[in-house]
């Protein structure tokens, strides 16, 4: 799946992406890795349609992607379950237990975000992202604060999703279990991959 070609993104004088192209496998988990500030998050945001590139082409519309932000962005006034029903159409509310199971949040449906630990909040944000119907899931550090055995179990479930997952991670064990890894060295990112 070709995601973008010739993508250029600058913030003022600083070029973050410079004629960047990216192709990933049609299924499974592709991990993006690289030093802080090299443009990984910017790339995900551009692919999700949240930043406008100065040049180049993105081949998915924003409605075909779902993004998990680097921060959880939970709504303090909504329960765990409501975070999922808010993004699911009513006819798909039956999928809530499966999503909670995927994120290992069974039994937490009525819990408010303030009562969740950091790792649980992260998993809820992940479940909410996966509740969206998408052709590509963009996950920015989905396992921050999640213990490694649990992260690896969830990663296995992500690999079985019908749509490809592009995730950012610095964790060597996560990278080792991804289907493909793209090492980025920037800025600016000029690499054509894979």
């Amino acid at each position: 799946m070709i995601l973008c070609e010739g993508l250029t993104v600058s913030f003022g004088e600083r070029a973050v992406l410079d004629r960047f192209s990216l192709q990933i496998p049609d299924r499974g988990v592709t991990a993006l890795s690289g030093p802080s500030g090299c443009g990984k998050t910017t790339l995900l945001r551009v692919l999700a349609g949240l930043e406008r590139p100065c040049g180049g082409a993105v081949y998915l519309s924003p409605r075909e992607t779902a993004i998990l932000f680097q921060d959880d962005r939970l709504l303090p006034w909504r329960t765990v379950e409501q975070h999922l029903t808010d993004v699911l159409p009513r006819e798909r509310w039956g999928e809530v237990p499966a999503l909670l199971a995927l994120a290992e949040l069974e039994g937490e449906g009525k819990t408010m975000p303030a009562a969740l630990s950091g790792g649980m909040g992260r998993r809820l944000a992940l479940a909410r992202c996966l509740a969206l119907d998408a052709k590509l899931y963009l996950l920015d550090e989905p396992f921050a604060g999640v213990d490694l055995p649990r992260a690896l179990r969830i990663l296995e479930r992500l690999r079985a999703l019908p749509a490809p997952v592009l995730l950012v991670s610095h964790e060597p064990d996560i990278l080792a279990h991804a289907d493909a890894v793209i090492e980025l060295d920037g800025p600016p990112l000029v690499r054509i991959s894979p």
């Binding site: 993004i67 932000f69 962005r73 006034w77 909504r78 808010d86 993004v87």
Partner: protein
Amino acid sequence: MGSPDISPSRLPLQRGGVCSQIGKNLLYALPAPAFWLGVWQVCAFLVDRRLEGRGNELLLPYPATVWSVLTGLAGTGEFWAAVCSSLGRIALGLVCGLGLGALLAVLTCASRWADRLLSPAIRVVRAAPVASFILLVLLWTGRNNVPAVIAAMMVVPVVWDNLSRGIQAVDKKLLELGRACRFPRIKIVNLIYLPSLRPYILTALTTAAGLAWKSGVAAEVLCLPEPSLGQRIYYTKYYLDIPELFAWTAVTVALSLILERLLRLALARWGRGWAA
């Protein structure tokens, strides 16, 4: 899952718990009013001693005198007619002011042109003396409409100011999340804007309720709509009936506090819907 234990042996305990909670609440709530009543009593006594019983009621009546006047008034039809009329007029003004203030806040936050056009006018209304508006509105409309119009005019800038600040303070990251989750606009309003605005709405409501009462009753004193609290307050000045002035003032304060409390309860009930 077992059914809750509602056996008779359990009920007195629960009732006892509720009673002790009420007792605790009273223990916290009563000392301050009791202290100020005591201060009032002492001051009235000192005035009484200084005047040696010759007309202290003109300056500072005893709390008991005011209470006796108040209970006497409460037994008359005129009292309730005045209370209900003023309550109706001022509540109408308050509701209109809340609606208009909220609408203006949305408009000025959504459009820079609307902000440039409307903000100066709202600031002028906020800064202008209420007496000028009362006299102008009295000339433009009938005297019965003045309290509602004035209450609304005084409420609009407060609501506009609070809600504008609230709208600008809504977390941009949550709004971005709403876009990323493909929420329709109405859902963004319900799930993100309204819950985020809750503290601003509460401040706007409580401030506006007090202001509506003050300005509305001031307008009634100047325009004398019939029947009204303001008209009765005006007559107390006319006849130098200071205990009755105190009694009507106490009624006004009580109504203002009750209205504020009702608005708070309504907001709390409405807020529960965001997590339901």
